[in-house]
Symmetry: C2
Subunit: 186 residues, 2 copies
DNA sequence: GGCTATATCGAGGGAGCCTCGAATTACTAG
DNA sequence: CTAGTAATTCGAGGCTCCCTCGATATAGCC
């Protein structure tokens, strides 16, 4: 049995401060923000940051935890309740999520092959949900017969990238057009 | 009148060597490759690299010059000859171009606002060609009435990004689906 | 062969990444 | 309240990269 000791109070404080400053920095300058800068803003030495978050991905993973949970709840809801435009709702929500910080979409897209990171797990989960929503749409005849989960993943990450790099409006428009392409031809 | 002097032979040699090594490095490691590494591989001091190419963008611009010319020729041909799937051909060619090096798509997408770079000019030109091809398709009733040049630009850059980050196949599939979405509903 | 514009060189200042041993400090038990 | 200890923090140091600029070299012309 593993007795989980409570972390020291100063540790917890620093952890929270780091998270807060990292979030601010990532929002302002994207996921490539300087970690030393974040530590500085948090009033903490660089070693302390690494003590809490061994890598940039770990830090981002921690920041995304809550956000992820909310997204997955939505996914489940879309799957259990009867939802006519479940796919559109899912794609838009997942896109917004993947566009939280500039550069995040690339991490998520490339993150499927680095195993055992928090990011990895959530990518897999997102892919799964997309797959199931698409399967349902395909079977109900709402989507083209060859639509796959990969189509949804691609659209989501591409749209997130457009959101970051071009504009939210461009991303939204792209989603609209591509979803039309995924619909069954009448 | 401006008398253009011929560059010294050693200068020309170094210029070529730098281009060659930069191309190799960018292909292997993307547009963020270390410039010092490139200079090293070219057997030249870092200052020499900066002498020839004042910035990373300038270097990339020079590398893309020929490639760009070829792409624009294709664009013109698609516009003058009667071409049924001109749009598909254009999108695929432009995508392949923008996916030459990992990270290039982002430079191109973000490159529309930095004025006066070689990259900027070619972005504008690409956008123009896309616009004209779409206009024609729209008027002939092949495309949905609200299709715009921006749709083409977005698709092209998003697909290039997928090509880089996910796989060429994913990019191609995404193009197919989205072009279907841009087609007029029968 | 000598001159000079044209090029090259690379040290140097700045920044960021990440590690690791030394110093500190929050908690715990007596 | 006081030690003792384990958990935490600190930040210098080694590395890489960016970019600049004065000193140095040399290709090509007369």
């Amino acid at each position: 049995m593993t007795t989980t000791r409570r972390p020291r109070a100063d540790a917890r404080r620093n952890y929270e401060r780091l998270l807060a400053e990292a979030d601010a920095a990532f929002r302002e300058q994207g996921v490539e923000s300087s970690l030393e800068g974040i530590a500085r803003r948090a009033g903490v030495a660089i070693g302390t940051l690494y003590g809490h978050f061994p890598s940039r991905r770990a830090l981002i993973g921690a920041l995304l935890r809550d956000r992820n949970a909310t997204l997955f709840e939505l996914g489940e809801r879309l799957l259990t309740a009867p939802a006519p435009d479940a796919l559109a709702a899912w794609v838009r929500a997942a896109t917004a999520h993947a566009a939280t910080y500039r550069g995040l979409a690339a991490l998520i897209a490339g993150g499927l092959d680095d195993e055992a990171s928090e990011l990895h797990a959530s990518c897999v989960r997102m892919a799964e949900i997309g797959e199931r929503i698409v399967a349902r749409g395909r079977e109900s005849g709402a989507l083209r017969a060859d639509a796959t989960g990969a189509d949804v993943t691609a659209l989501t990450s591409a749209a997130a990238w457009l959101h970051e790099q071009v504009s939210p409006a461009a991303a939204d428009r792209h989603i609209t057009v591509t979803l039309d392409g995924l619909a069954a031809s009448p």
